[in-house]
Symmetry: C2
Subunit: 472 residues, 2 copies
């Protein structure tokens, strides 16, 4: 099948968003399937996006004093059972190793769905004194959650992620850490992925199993549905008590430390696709694209190509050059499917007329410039694409944020549109459940706990300003 045909085979985004998403993942060579049900192969182009995310975050984690470690990937069942809320939350989706080296295991092993208990066991051994605190750890690894229904990047049995785990001598310091890492995630979303997010606190019903408070960054996809793109948890000292972790404070008294954890996953790649992509395929923000520029030569232009390539290298602008013997039309279509921010057409005839052509992926606008001007223009256009994508996403999202004061209003919005609903809530889980049962909308996050109003569901006094929305 030719690439042109493949492109035509992308379902229209407005006709069937779910199918459009799967098509883009496949046609842009981001993932492939295998005989391992529920898992995906992340292909080089998809993995390169993840590598960029890893590099950006890893640098920020290190700048904020965090150290990388590597814990075992297995958790003995007996260890997992120590923190009760945690077990209840994760047990239904665990993968269990029962045999190793042809023998049945006495203590079965859970393939880690998250590593709190492993970190806690280790922390108990290495934390002795206030001098050991804060302990700021992070781990890049794969986790397993045995999901029934899976979709590339969004919901997979194996997930690539990072999990930060930190211990602090005071509650305040731990809470500050929780919010600091939420800021790091927000910055990544905004300035690299070009995705506007709403940040806030999860309700008790939606928080992480074992956490006191869970903070979240909520992005809205093109179809108005929410994607939870990262979470940061404040644990208080629940785990620390369950694991009997103690430290000697400056007065030589034993105290229990306070804990956080925070993580983001390859799911973020799904959000890049679903926020920026269009009917021609992927659209990548320059700050996260594996290649910012795709050069397409037309005819014999090798000398000019080499000059342009060396200038791009000098400016550290990543690029790929399509030197295959495919037709220019095929190459253009492929460049669009892959979402390279800029396609640079270098044609023999155009060069004779003194110009090359910059094609923006976001607007499809064509800009003719001389070879001499082209590098500067590329830099300028890349910066413009980055901000344009963010602004477009923000505008679309803001148009899909609705406010409701009464339950009738709420219900009507959910019937007519798909988006976020900003409203007041009394804090009662019964109202949260009723809203979900009536509309499938779940609470996204609390953005203000001191906002006077009436609960949109029961009409009682409410102090909580909160977003509701459908979710992936």
């Amino acid at each position: 099948m030719s690439k042109d045909k493949q492109v035509k085979n992308i379902t229209s985004r407005d006709d069937d968003f779910a199918q459009w998403y799967t098509d883009v993942c496949r046609v842009a060579d981001l993932v492939d399937y295998s005989s391992v049900k529920g898992s995906m192969i992340i292909r080089p182009y998809g993995y390169a996006i993840w590598e960029n995310i890893v590099n950006i975050l890893d640098k920020k984690f290190k700048e904020t004093g965090h150290l990388n470690v590597q814990m075992p990937m297995f958790i003995p069942e007996s260890l997992f059972n120590i923190e009760k809320d945690h077990v209840e939350g994760f047990a239904p989706e665990c993968a269990i190793v029962t045999h190793g080296g042809k023998e049945e295991l006495e203590d079965k092993m859970i393939v880690r769905p998250t590593s709190e208990v492993l970190f806690c066991e280790h922390f108990k051994k290495i934390i002795k004194s206030y001098r050991d605190l804060p302990l700021l750890y992070n781990q890049w690894c794969t986790i397993v959650r045995w999901e029934k229904e899976t979709r590339p990047f969004l919901r997979s049995r194996e997930i690539l992620w990072q999990e930060g785990h930190t211990m602090h001598s005071t509650e305040q310091e731990a809470k500050e850490e929780t919010l600091r890492m939420l800021d790091v995630y927000t910055d990544l979303q905004k300035n690299y992925l070009a995705i506007p997010v709403i940040t806030g606190k999860k309700t008790d019903k939606e928080k992480f199993a074992g956490a006191e408070e869970t903070y979240t960054i909520e992005a809205m996809m093109y179809d108005g549905i929410a994607l939870q793109n990262g979470t940061s948890h404040y644990f208080g000292n629940g785990f620390a008590k369950a694991f009997d972790i103690k430290f000697l404070n400056k007065n030589n008294e034993l105290e229990t430390p306070y804990q956080t954890s925070w993580g983001v996953t390859t799911r973020m790649i799904g959000s890049i696709i679903m926020v920026h992509g269009d009917d021609r395929g992927l659209v990548l923000p320059p700050n996260i694209a594996p290649y910012k520029v795709c050069i397409v030569p037309i005819g014999e232009v090798e000398d000019t190509l080499l000059n342009i390539e060396s200038s791009l290298k000098e400016k550290e602008i990543t690029f790929t050059t399509d030197r295959t013997d495919k037709s220019p039309g095929f190459k253009f279509a492929e460049a669009e499917v892959k979402g390279y921010p800029i396609r640079l057409e270098v044609g023999k005839r155009d060069l004779e007329n003194g110009y090359v052509t910059i094609v923006r992926r976001d607007t499809l606008e064509k800009i003719q410039v001389t070879v001499d001007e082209c590098i500067n223009k590329i830099e300028e256009v890349l910066s413009d694409i980055q901000s344009n994508l963010y602004n477009k996403a923000k505008e679309r999202r803001d148009n899909l944020i609705f406010e409701a004061e009464t339950y009738d209003e709420f219900i009507n919005i959910t019937k007519e549109k798909t988006g976020f609903i900003k409203t007041h809530w009394c804090g009662d889980v019964a109202c949260e459940n009723k809203i979900k049962d009536d509309t499938t909308y779940k609470s996204r996050c609390i953005i203000d706990e001191n906002s006077k109003g009436k609960c949109v569901c029961c009409g009682k006094d409410a102090n909580t300003l909160i977003y509701f929305g459908k979710q992936y």
Copy 2:
């Protein structure tokens, strides 16, 4: 326990090498144990060494045209069973997932011990034409081999590694790739880890399950015992045939492609410890050390410290400054245990006399220089430590390489010393087995297949020049 005491608690290297090794791993904060039997926690200082190795290799892999991908961590048993030699080699040490999400799995899942079959299944789908070749892939991930006896870094149930998997249209190209990656590994060993290696081909008995040829880099530890530090396999088209992978060549005819795979693991960290370490602890080559310099302030010297730190940053020399309230003696001992290549003592009284002190970890030599001269001197000393460590290791190794022409000579060497024995071998596995049974020496690698001589074991004509040695 004070750090001084901990240092004293390192067993002498010459008294009990195995215990010395375990002590260093623990006291230098490289690893910790957990309730996950057979797995280790890689602590930040150990993991930082691995991150340096990853960065060096990943850059080289990309420079040589390789792309990173991510395959599932599970392999369905039915898929694993396709290549028979491969199954037989790995089945005894597999960890098996039998339950997922509270249900028993129909097709049990093996936690990957290596990923050839997953890559083959994927290759079959994406390789259509000669235009798709060569396909040069690499994966950084964790594998599981259910070892009975484990030791930190050397033998662990979970192993961090990279696995390269490539497909080529010709036998010759695949063989060149196999050797190219062996060279990449040799360069890492020599120029970063400061470890001299012997490279060559494994015997049929010792080659990788499913490979036609396995090449290896063999390092010698301080105690004369070999550590296989990386392997590169040429597969011919055995897997490709088993998985029915075919491509259309330029003449539009179907052909079977040729395959390689190659990998190195965290085991290399074990070799750094066992080649360079001493009774005071770890000794790290500057080119792989997480921190090249450890600054120890003595008294009130903050202004000078800040100047030195900013100069080191400018020169991109990594460092750590021990600003804790521990005693200088404690800090010196800890800097030695951790193997920082240079300890820089910045003392108030010394400064008044116009100098700071550079202490080399490899020779323990102390060098007094003025603050102005110190950065240049540090650069010079780091370069000297790097080559000194390599030369020392090479000298020691060369002194432990023996030659044997008769079986009596061979036996006598193994009784008196531990090292490598370079000798002739007829190629018969019976002789290889006899040598192993009589001496515990196993074949390390073949370095010449056209060297005339007599087999050291049976006395028959032999064309194979080969190394034997004990192994970790």
